[in-house]
């Protein structure tokens, strides 16, 4: 990617970011408007090369926040900068620096992994031969056999699809990766492989990573900092150790999460997958 990044700037800076959704539903004779304050007054400074975990119950605003950073949603309030570039004023430059893996692996399901990756790489200006070479290497590293590249996506398991989604994001060498629950629905082995790979990406690709997850051990293993979000607001922002120390009462991150949000995580992942 050819966008220059100034040294010393943060990977992400958010100031007073807010987003409200209005859904109008027709109820026989009249319309009923529902207002949802998805994100409220988020302030965040994420230094480069760090992994930030955003933890929160379903509907707490995690995905909305990521969508705004990914230039897919326009904030109602506040500003978001990615490597010093405002996401609204410099949308195209920001897009060259980021990539996103969403909880649902968004692919053309009838197309093979190879065809999907060729499309994605083309959109980012990556030559097809290079994309295929890199994809094979990345997928082998993620434990996906080479033969799977020629199988239509609809015939692959969710875990396999998610690995291809991660490979797709990495093909474009993003400087900031936004991972929205990338391991949801994966078996323990695949989950571990993805986690190892995330750590490797940070190390080898000089990338900054923002990850949302419901998996507390995952958050503890991967993240330098954790932000806990509830009802659109950050209720805590600290390193995993500090969170456990301050809120976990020696019973781990999950206990800290429960104390901060009042939500139990038991069914969160199941609901979101």
């Amino acid at each position: 990617m050819d966008s220059k990044i100034s040294e010393g700037v943060s990977a992400i800076e958010c100031h007073g970011v807010g987003k409200t959704f209005k859904v109008v539903q027709r109820n026989k004779w009249h319309r009923v408007a529902t207002i949802t304050h998805a994100v409220k007054g988020i302030d965040l400074v994420l230094p480069r090369h760090q992994i930030l975990g955003v933890l929160g119950p379903n509907g707490s605003g995690k995905s909305t926040l990521i969508r705004m950073m990914a230039t897919l949603l326009i904030p109602d309030e506040g500003t978001i900068q990615v490597f010093g570039l405002d996401v609204l004023a410099h949308r195209m430059k920001v897009r060259r620096l980021i990539n996103r893996v969403s909880v649902e692996a968004s692919f053309f399901k009838k197309l093979t992994a190879r065809e999907n990756l060729a499309y994605a790489a083309g959109l980012y200006g990556v030559p097809n031969y290079q994309a295929q070479k890199d994809a094979t290497r990345i997928l082998e590293r993620l434990g996906l056999a080479r033969e799977k590249l020629v199988v239509p996506l609809e015939n692959l398991s969710r875990g396999q699809q998610q690995k291809i989604a991660i490979a797709r994001a990495l093909l474009t060498s993003p400087t900031l990766m936004l991972l929205d629950e990338p391991t949801t629905g994966l078996d323990p082995t695949s989950r571990r492989e993805v986690q190892d790979f995330v750590l490797q990406v940070r190390q080898e690709h000089d990338a900054t990573i923002l990850i949302t997850t419901h998996d507390m051990p995952e958050a503890e293993r991967l993240c330098d900092q954790i932000a806990i979000i509830d009802e659109g607001r950050f209720v805590a922002y600290a390193s995993p150790e500090e969170l456990v120390k301050k809120w976990g009462e020696g019973q781990g991150l999950e206990h800290a999460f429960f104390r901060l949000t009042g939500h139990n995580l038991d069914n969160q992942e199941q609901e979101s997958s």
Binding site: D2, K19, F21, K22, T64, R67, A70, T71, L72, L73, I74, D76, M92, K93, R95, R96, R100, S102, E104, S106, F107, F108, K109, K110, L111, E115, A118, Y119, A120, A121, G122, L123, Y124, G125, V126, P127, N128, P152
Partner: protein
């Protein structure tokens, strides 16, 4: 990398993706093509029910309508359904997050639609010629091609406007594009001269680029008119294209921004 090269690569990948999709849905493609061929032949056969003196002329008149409508409707449908299709697959956010100009994305969709529409129309044309043994030796094919190319532009503009609807309404947008297509079919004189339309409906035919395309193509093929006589109508079509395409693009970008405000870009709104 040079920006133009990057955009060209992206455009190529969109066209290639759509042809890959055709291959995966090959069964349905064969079915649609078969239906189009049968539909065109059926419409042409109406001409054979007329007195012998009128048959050849009517068959060609109807076949031109069916063939052109086939091409223009594919163009409109493919462009206007691009958003619905991506939303249905769940890929819209990924495609729209890519660092390419929206014009490049839409040009990719349009280029594919033109190639795909032309290929299907040529196949149907060959079947029609063989089936009806129609003599079209006098036809001005270059003139017809000029008119066809000129008419593609305004239809691309209309398609871009139609593509906006699924962005505005997740559920009803795609349905609305079908209605627009139906209205264009009714008022453009595809199978009859627009003069037979009731007065309250006829004025709409003047707004449809297909009306002029059909008239000019029939003049070129049936009348064997010289290319020079079609210059005026082709220029009008080109001009309307040059107006409608930027308007369509502007409307699309405005609607995309609106969807990004409302959060309706993603699949389930």
């Amino acid at each position: 990398m040079i920006a133009v090269e990057r955009e060209a690569r992206a455009l190529g990948s969109i066209v290639r993706r759509n042809f890959h999709l055709i291959r995966r849905y090959a069964g349905w493609e064969v079915v649609f093509l078969f239906y189009n061929v049968i539909n065109t032949l059926t419409i042409g056969l109406i001409g054979l029910s007329l007195p012998p003196g009128q048959r050849a002329h009517t068959v060609v008149f109807l076949a031109i309508g069916a063939l052109l409508w086939n091409f223009l409707s594919i163009l409109f449908q493919e462009i206007s359904n691009a958003v619905s299709w991506e939303r249905w697959e769940g890929t819209i956010e990924y495609s729209f997050m890519a660092p390419i100009h929206r014009l490049t994305y839409l040009m990719g969709v349009c280029l594919y639609a033109v190639i795909y529409g032309l290929v299907r129309t040529v196949v149907i044309l060959i079947v029609v010629m063989l089936f009806f043994h129609v003599s079209i030796q006098r036809a001005d094919w270059i003139g017809a091609l000029v008119v066809l190319t000129a008419s593609a532009l305004p239809f691309i503009g209309l398609g871009l406007m139609g593509a906006v609807l699924p962005l505005l309404s997740t559920e009803r947008g795609a349905q609305a594009t079908q209605i627009i297509q139906g209205v264009l079919l009714l008022v453009s004189g595809v199978y009859y001269p627009v003069s037979v339309l009731p007065g309250w409906l006829r004025w709409m035919s003047y707004g449809s680029p297909a009306t002029y395309t059909l008239q000019a193509s029939r003049q070129a093929i049936l009348g064997g008119r010289a290319l020079s006589s079609l210059v005026g109508i082709s220029l009008e079509l080109f001009l309307s294209g040059f107006i409608l395409v930027p308007i369509g693009l502007f409307i699309f970008q405005t609607a995309e921004r609106w969807a990004m405000h409302r959060g309706t870009l993603k699949r389930n709104g």
